[in-house]
Symmetry: C2
Subunit: 257 residues, 2 copies
Amino acid sequence: MAGQIDLDRTTVADEIVALLRDRIVRGELTPGAQLSENEIAQQLGVSRTPVREAFIQLREQSLLRILPQRGSFVAPINLGQVEDSYFLRETMEIRIVGLAAKNCKAKNADRLRAIVNRQRTLLDGGSDAAFVKADDAMHRYFSEICGRPRVWKVISDAKVQIDRLRCLNAQDQSTRERIVGDHERIVDAVVGGDADAAVGAMTHHLRHIHKNIERLAQQFPGYMDGQKFPSSRAAEARAQRVGDMTARRRTADNNQP
Amino acid sequence: MAGQIDLDRTTVADEIVALLRDRIVRGELTPGAQLSENEIAQQLGVSRTPVREAFIQLREQSLLRILPQRGSFVAPINLGQVEDSYFLRETMEIRIVGLAAKNCKAKNADRLRAIVNRQRTLLDGGSDAAFVKADDAMHRYFSEICGRPRVWKVISDAKVQIDRLRCLNAQDQSTRERIVGDHERIVDAVVGGDADAAVGAMTHHLRHIHKNIERLAQQFPGYMDGQKFPSSRAAEARAQRVGDMTARRRTADNNQP
DNA sequence: ATAAGTGTACTACCATGCAAGTTAACCGGG
DNA sequence: CCCGGTTAACTTGCATGGTAGTACACTTAT
């Protein structure tokens, strides 16, 4: 039993959730790829129980499809679900940013400036993950400013499906620069207390994201919803080789270690 | 091993989730009540495994608090969370009803009329559960009309915390009549294609609900957030006696049935 | 050669057993 | 009477074993 997983003081199942969720969202595990309880358990050096518990949680997050007695597969990116996620995010964030503009104190303004400044420093050298994290930080902080920190969790959970789509290819430099510019304009309006301008800037920002969603959806039709599951072994085998986690499956030949 | 649980073709764990979720939301299991994996498993005639998997899902829905090696307790009703749930619901439903008014076809109008008519028939004889179900049906259908059926799931999940609060005492007749009246005004506006009127009526309707929330929160302070968990055995014992599910715990005296 | 039948290797599901940790009651000494 | 130490009965977390069901490959009959 190795100590491959040791981050903080949560259960093993929760750590596996975080691990697999990250791999699925980042696209390392692609839609349709098969994940077996046994296999994950062996690779992580734990028993099947916490893995199974993690699978159930991922299913509830619409990231995994569990077919009883057949297998567990990374869920396809449901385009309708992506659209609904965007709808929810847009609706909530637009209202939130308007409220934030009316409630922004001096301390909030300082923090907002710091957040976007940090994001700008990440423009060149920063990794994609760090940039995304800084991106989220601003949106999340608006939720805090208007006194509703838990609302961000709902938005964030819905946003996962959007993030999966976005992670299909890395953002180019011009896109990242536009994002930071958008953020700076939004923060300017919020700090200035101009709710209408804030809502307008946020709307503009999110619409750009929506355009990207549509482009990516057309670019990667294979990962989208229509895909059937148990059939089409060829497609699954192709998907499996993307991540090393599902690289080789055991066969009758190499049963013993 | 009895066949106490047999509804449809899902896993045992999922049925336990539905069962316990219902008991918690309806207030049969009150905040602070202890639920042990062993006890539930025995009462349902299943092993601890599916019960445990159900507990984890309920934890993710903020309905259960699992303290490792200590116990699992029905979560208190977090007032901040209730407020955030209301905020989300209000924001989403107001936008949705405006869109529904613009998109309402003749077929939708007929179904809306049918839904409120049915709710009115339930005004006198109907059970509380049936009335609530009919209530939800209208709100859910608005989500369908504007082509975003999945958004209702998010609203509904958030609404659980509000429902817990509401179920603390049954609605009196005048409240139910006011609700149906509200619904009829909303439907009138939507069917008439008047988005502004629909938004106004929905806002009015939801504000009433919010007033009720505040009243109930003051009425039942014991179920609210501040409650500590492992301490105050007296409060827990009191809570336990509410539902027969947790009526008597085994002690050293009555081990055998 | 094609189609139906059979076996085998997988899958997720659930039952059970053990371990680590917490709590509360009990008991003896101050 | 009050306080500290011990023990016993709980709790959840994790490991493991057995079972029903599925799918694929092989065999056999047509």
